[in-house]
């Protein structure tokens, strides 16, 4: 216990000595100030429902509309999720954290430093894993301070003490740990901070591409599924219809249906392939998405209704004519993501992290210094 504690205290001192840690903390304060500033401006003289409520930042009445029925509490929680978590903690702050922590393992392994650690009565595996955990301390401290401050701001402003905000702590640490495991492996192999940082950033880009592909393919897949469903319903109607041209229309519809089924199967195959590939990779976006899933119920989300005029490229005029609506597609896609269990999201990600970290540990333990 003395040894583990000493390594953690050392990790804290190491982070504390880096300017980046305090720069990130300062920027967090700037981001948090948005939660202070944001409010809803009511305009009773507005002619349309959408013009009646606007987003207000301190004294600035922005042109951004606030959906009817959205409470300040939901708005603040949404701001915390989109700006605090979505943009700050999981993008900008995560990049700063990676820059700051990329050198932790190479420094640990540097000649003259590792000799001192290994010559102490502490197992190699324990020393390495504790150092790795020490690297996660950067993000753990940042996100804990950020969540606590957000909790207090939302609590004092709305009277709603949302303890769910603290779910961000384990989720953001888990998200960062997927990337840091890659950083640690590369750092262990190459002993170079720059190389490990670059490879980790590339890996993150790969995850982003996989996630983007998943989302990009889910939309046409769902649109085609709904389209097929609509056509089948119409075909059933025609089969029971006594109208004169029913049989002719059914023939045309069935040919349309065959085409739609072929298209649906194609999209399903491609999307399945991407989802299969994603299963073996850590799911950074979905891990953070769990926060949104747990913090805001799907029913709480404002329903903006179907948008018949929305120009979405994968919804063809034929589909639109058959009754496929963009909002229905978006909602179904959201349901698909929500149907992916937390166990799948976190479990498969941790399996990946475990394998990568295990490999790093094997290399570290077997190497001569």
């Amino acid at each position: 216990m003395t040894q583990t504690l000493a390594l953690f205290v050392d990790a804290y001192r190491q982070l504390n000595a880096r300017k980046m840690f305090w720069v990130t903390m300062l920027l967090s304060a700037v981001v948090l100030s948005v939660l202070f500033a944001v409010s809803i401006s009511e305009n009773p003289d507005a002619t349309s429902l959408f013009d009646s409520r606007h987003l207000k930042l301190m004294f600035w009445d922005t042109p951004f509309p606030v959906p009817p029925g959205m409470e300040l509490e939901t708005l603040l929680k949404g701001t915390f999720l989109t700006i605090g978590l979505g943009l700050w903690l999981t993008w900008a702050a995560a990049i700063l954290a990676l820059i700051s922590t990329a050198s932790i393992i190479p420094d640990f392994l540097s000649a003259g430093s590792i000799d001192l650690i290994l010559s102490k009565p502490i197992g190699r595996l324990r020393a390495y894993l504790t150092k790795y955990a020490g690297g996660l301390l950067f993000v753990a401290i940042q996100v804990t301070v950020f969540s606590a401050a957000a909790f207090l701001i939302i609590g004092f402003r709305t009277g709603a003490w949302e303890f769910g905000l603290f779910i961000a702590v384990p989720l953001v640490v888990a998200f960062f740990s997927y990337l840091f495991s890659v950083c640690a492996l590369v750092g262990t192999v190459t002993r170079s901070a720059i190389t490990s940082l670059l490879v980790t950033m590339l890996f993150w880009l790969l995850l982003f591409a996989a996630n983007f592909s998943d989302e990009a393919l889910a939309m046409p897949r769902v649109a085609n599924e709904i389209y097929v469903q609509k056509l089948e319903e119409k075909a059933d109607e025609l089969r029971t219809s006594e109208a004169q041209d029913a049989s002719i229309r059914l023939v045309v519809l069935e040919s349309q249906l065959q085409e739609a089924i072929a298209s649906r199967d194609l999209w399903r195959r491609w999307h399945g392939l991407i989802v299969g590939m994603k299963t073996s990779l850590p799911k950074t976006s979905e891990t953070i998405g769990l926060m949104e899933r747990w913090l805001i119920e799907i029913v709480d989300l404002p329903d903006t209704g179907d948008e018949p005029n929305a120009q979405i490229p994968f919804i063809t005029p034929k589909m639109r004519a058959a009754g496929v609506r963009s909002n229905t597609v978006a909602r179904r896609v959201q349901e698909i993501y929500r149907d992916r269990s937390a166990l799948w999201v976190l479990g498969t990600s941790f399996i990946f992290e475990g394998i990568v970290l295990g490999l790093a540990c094997i290399i570290f333990v077997r190497r001569d210094y």
Binding site: T2, R13, G112, L116, I117
Partner: protein, 332 residues
Amino acid sequence: MDGSNGQFAIDLHHVEKIYKGKVHALRGIEMRVHHGEIFGLLGPNGAGKTTLVKIMMTVVRPTKARGTVLGQPVGHKPTLARVGYLPEHHRFPQYLTGRQVLEFYAALAKVDRKTRRKRSLSLLDLVGMKEWGNKKIATYSKGMMQRVGLAQALMNDPDLIVLDEPTDGVDPVGRRDIRDVLVKLKAKGKTVFLNSHLLSELEMVCDRVAILVQGNVATQGTIEDLTAESQRYEIEIDGGTPTWLNEFADLRAESGSSGRTVLILRGSDPSKVQPIIDRLRSTNQTIHSIKPVRESLEDLFMRAVTNPETGEVFAPGAAVTRRPTAKARQRS
């Protein structure tokens, strides 16, 4: 064998290290270090000294190793709580102060907090760094780093202290201070294992030495024993070689400077010199000087690292060809 009651603090057999299946760094080291002595490990660059030290400290994994360190098998981690180590070119975290460094590494050696606090102050005082204890390591000079490094190696009150080039970068005053610390440690019954290039320093403090050449122990023992063969008396006289030279066993003559002759008598027994002096007196030969001569550690070192067959110094590093063992050298 119990660590504290065993005869040897370090007892190594057949220690071998082959790096990446090619470089034969150690070729079956046999070495024994007694409790309470200062032991010096010598050798040219690349002889395998640091590899051997790192094997004892579990930093490098041996290809083969039998034997014990403080009575426990080589590589036994818990034993390291009783060992202090100062590596060569050590690097302390720059963001820590000298005192924090001592306390951090002591914590890793399982020293409790109260003892750490107390010991860090007294050891900083011992190595002359009391005033600098609360300053960041980044501000230290090389010599200061060595001093703090030595204190670090003593934080767990070890039974065995392994120091790899402890005086590297230290000024003469600092070297003397470090030597004094080593002598104090010996007086307290601690065993000191010293790896250094500075032969004159080792000669001053070491009870026994071992010379490593190309991954083998070329020779080991007390400096007196190792240089016994070379001990002699040199008698400088006027004139040429005496005609009666052959009457004395182990006596030979060499021409000296200014037309003088140096008579050389092998051995360290002063009683054997007396009849020669009597004989010189009886023949009225002027005696300029009589002095006992012993091979220095440097001479011993040079002899160990020189190929007796070719008279050339062995190539540095772990050569592929096998050098003659101590036994083979004795035979030759």
